[in-house]
């Protein structure tokens, strides 16, 4: 059930330099749960593309499988999109980028898609510095398959402290930094004032730009010791053993000043403590970015903002010294050495 927004355009909507309104960057109506953080991220992508005057059709959207990976249908309806297979978007994006270095590549993935099945491909896309924006819509859970644990950090880490020690979560930003990623940022789906500029910066970056976005899952981010009062419903569901009820919910927003902390309450009442970096933070030191994450984590805080940028980087085409033209545009003439050369090659084999 994915259909296009009606073509009606409000005459007074602001237009960007290309004459487009934000409507021109929208996609089909979302089929995610009401209040899902992923939808906020889609909105931020739309806004960022609008503000950066991106021609919509010069974007290619790629994703894996998951609720998060569905979202490319819900933004940039004039762009080609590719919803590939679970965990393998990085390779598809790498190949696409090889074929045409001129488009803007936006990859969307989830924490399951990236940190579990996709870990190998993620690592190697980082390493190759493929020129793309890679957004991991990280809800700390497998949404689409209904609530299994994922390998990434628990959203409501504070309220879950009492729980028995399970496996250590994987911090994707740290891993990316360790692997030599040239752009690494962390953000929160509900913090549009932070997220939009980060996405714009990522689009401007030449190389692999990784954005981890904490994105609450309305439905399955349920802390057992939840403080929210819908216990009744929960008990009902637990008893019937049929988990098909999604309580109505609103998007969680958290817009707060740079340099400050903010306690954000999740749908189930668990709390996450965000710390927003100030502009003056030095984004050119990889090692201090790594330590920063660790330091805040030690205080049970999650640091958000652009953590690191290396502007002096080479993207994969530069490393490989491929032609400036999109490879896909080369024709028979440029590509085929021709019959006469073939005779010469034959001769070498006699």
């Amino acid at each position: 059930m994915s259909y296009k927004i009606p073509a009606f355009r409000h005459p007074n909507l602001p237009r960007n330099e290309l004459g487009h309104t934000t409507k021109d960057y929208e996609g089909a109506v979302s089929t995610l749960c009401a209040g899902c953080g992923h939808d906020s991220i889609s909105a931020a992508i739309i806004e960022a593309c609008f503000q950066k005057n991106v021609p919509p059709h010069r974007v290619a959207k790629l994703s894996g499988i998951g609720c998060s990976s569905k979202t490319p249908t819900y933004f940039l309806g004039h762009s080609h999109g590719f919803n590939s297979v679970h965990g393998r978007m990085p390779s598809v994006a790498t190949g696409a980028n090889m074929a045409n270095r001129e488009l803007l590549y936006i990859g969307v993935s989830g924490d399951g898609d990236t940190a579990s099945i996709g870990m190998g491909q993620f690592v190697h896309a980082v390493r190759r510095n493929v020129n793309m924006v890679y957004i991991c819509e990280n809800n700390g859970v497998y949404g689409l398959t209904k609530g299994q644990d994922s390998a990434t950090t628990d959203l409501g880490s504070i309220s879950k402290k009492g729980e028995p020690n399970a496996l250590e979560p994987i911090d994707l930003c740290s891993i990316a930094l360790q692997l030599g990623a040239t752009f690494v940022a962390n953000s929160f789906s509900g913090d549009k004032t932070q997220l939009v500029p980060i996405i714009k910066a990522a689009m401007a970056h030449r190389g692999f730009a990784f954005i981890n976005v904490i994105s609450p899952c309305v439905t399955f981010n349920n802390t057992p010791g939840s403080t929210k009062a819908y216990d009744y419903i929960r008990q009902h569901m637990a008893s019937t053993n049929t988990v098909d009820y999604v309580p109505p919910a609103d998007e969680i927003t958290a817009e707060f000043p740079e340099g400050t902390d903010e306690l954000v309450t999740m749908h189930d009442g668990s709390v996450i403590n965000l710390h927003k970096l100030e502009k003056k933070h030095d984004i050119h030191s990889r090692s201090s970015a790594i330590s920063l994450i660790q330091e805040y984590r030690a205080e049970d805080k999650v640091v958000t903002g652009i953590l690191f940028i290396d502007e002096e980087t080479q993207d994969i085409h530069e490393t490989m010294n491929t032609t400036d033209r999109p490879l896909r545009d080369l024709g028979t003439k440029e590509l085929c050495p021709g019959g006469a050369e073939l005779d010469a090659i034959n001769d070498l084999h006699r």
Partner: protein, 615 residues
Amino acid sequence: MKRDIIVNKFVIKFANVNGTGSASANKLFSRSVFRMGVPISPKNIFPSNIQGLPTWYEVRINDTGFLGRRGGIDVMVGMNPQSMARDIQEVEKGGYFVYDSTKPIDPSLLRDDIDFIGVPLTEKCREMYEDPRQLQLFRNVMYVGVLTALFDMELEVVKQLISEQFKGREKIVAPNFLAVETGYEMAKKLHACPIAYRVERRDNVGEKILIDGNEACGLGAVYGGATVSAWYPITPSTSVIDNFARYCRKYRIDAETGQKNYAIVQAEDELAAIGMVIGASWNGARAFTATSGPGLSLMNEFLGLAYFAEIPAVLVDVQRAGPSTGMPTRTQQSDVLSAAYASHGDTKHICLYPSTPKECFEYTALAFNLAERFQTPVIVMSDLDLGMNDNMSEPFTWDDAKLYDRGKVFKEEDLENMEERFGRYLDVDGDGIPYRTYPGTHPTKGAFFTRGTSKDEYAIYTENGEKYIENMKRLEKKWKTASHHVPKPVIRKTDKPCTVGVVHFGTSEASTLEALHHLNGMHGISLDSMGIQSFPFADEVGQFIEDHEYVFVVEQNRDAQMRSLLINEYEFDPECLVPILHYDGSPITARFIRHEIRDWILQTTTSPRRRSRFY
């Protein structure tokens, strides 16, 4: 021993230790024979290891141009003490065993039905070289000299080849000359030359070239216009990409800018390799990968995506002996079924079965046309025997007038002029093939969402059963259309009316044709033959089988996989398809095929046709 003199019709085998540099010397020998106008077919038999284990090189020299393996060894060059016992055993009665006599042979190994020719190679080399590495290398070159004398070959040809080989590195030429001449003289001095097996100049190779299938595939990809290649190393497919890279460096680097008109990515594994190929193809480039069995298995999920989302993808599968890691340096045709039906759900993939380097070249180039025309994976099914051995082949040809067939792609103008709604999966032309657009083509028209889930004609996600069926039936129709565009079988009819046929594909061709040459006329029967070139099968394939009472299906696997494909796709009575199966990892021999067919024919005259071994 008194012998007949046999000219240009024998099999010589070299027993070496791998990592000792024997490969280039052995190649020098076989190329020299080839240069003398005599057809050859060399086979490498090497271990899955880098240094220190036995390795063999078997060359069949055959005037009349039979190029399959014959079976049996006439002359053994036994340079490996480790394998000497069985190497000696392997020589046919009346043959020769040439060896390094620096150390005498264990007398218990001696046979009196063959001749032993000892030459003290190491001893000689010790005199000549101080560097142990030079000693090892030149000892190999030296035995080539020995053989040149023994077979009465033209020394000048050998030297000519050395000069060509080291062109631009002249200071290497002289010592190589010296080594080969030393061997030549030693043989002359120590033995009565020539021996009973001889090589004489002929004019029997004509325009033919000597090349391995992997080089041919790599070159085919260059000619076919591949610009993106993503791969992961695996024996025996690695040299497909090596050769693609080599020819790209030669032909695809912009003279002015020094920039590359191609991109080769060594992926982190085969899942990533095929993912990159699919991403690049989706985005409008011609892209391919090469792999072998284990890689094919890993690509299963992605191949299903490409089939269902209709994305071109070219894959060269250089088959090796399975299952699992199997025998990585041995040959088989055992990925036939897993390639044709790769992935879960209802899927089928176009496969091409080259038998010669020329077909490797042409089918790899063609694969890109087919993949883009039919928007689906195309798998070129080579194997280790074809891919890693020098094969005599017709020279490659190319029609410069032909442009690449990029298939049904709407360009910006097409979209601009389009009135109706663009439907990515609409069957506009009634052939089951829809139109696609490349990302970034038009500001407002033609964008669509590609997915592995079910969708309607407009690429909109749907779980509607009728839409699903419609789409699946269109894919079937496209498949049927493809069957008219893939290479047709090569049918060779005898001049008599004929009720029995033989079906072969890929590297079973040469041995099958040789076997038929001998069988036809025997036992009062004659056999037509058909070489299958592709899946889906062209109509002629079914026709050939229907036209014969029964046919033998020759293949190099245990489970008669091509036969399964045939009976799956047609309605033949399986009893009419008699499997001839060779799968010990060595290339199938003419001898084997001849005996199997003969035995079956003798047997069926007395026993009922339905035989229990079919189960």
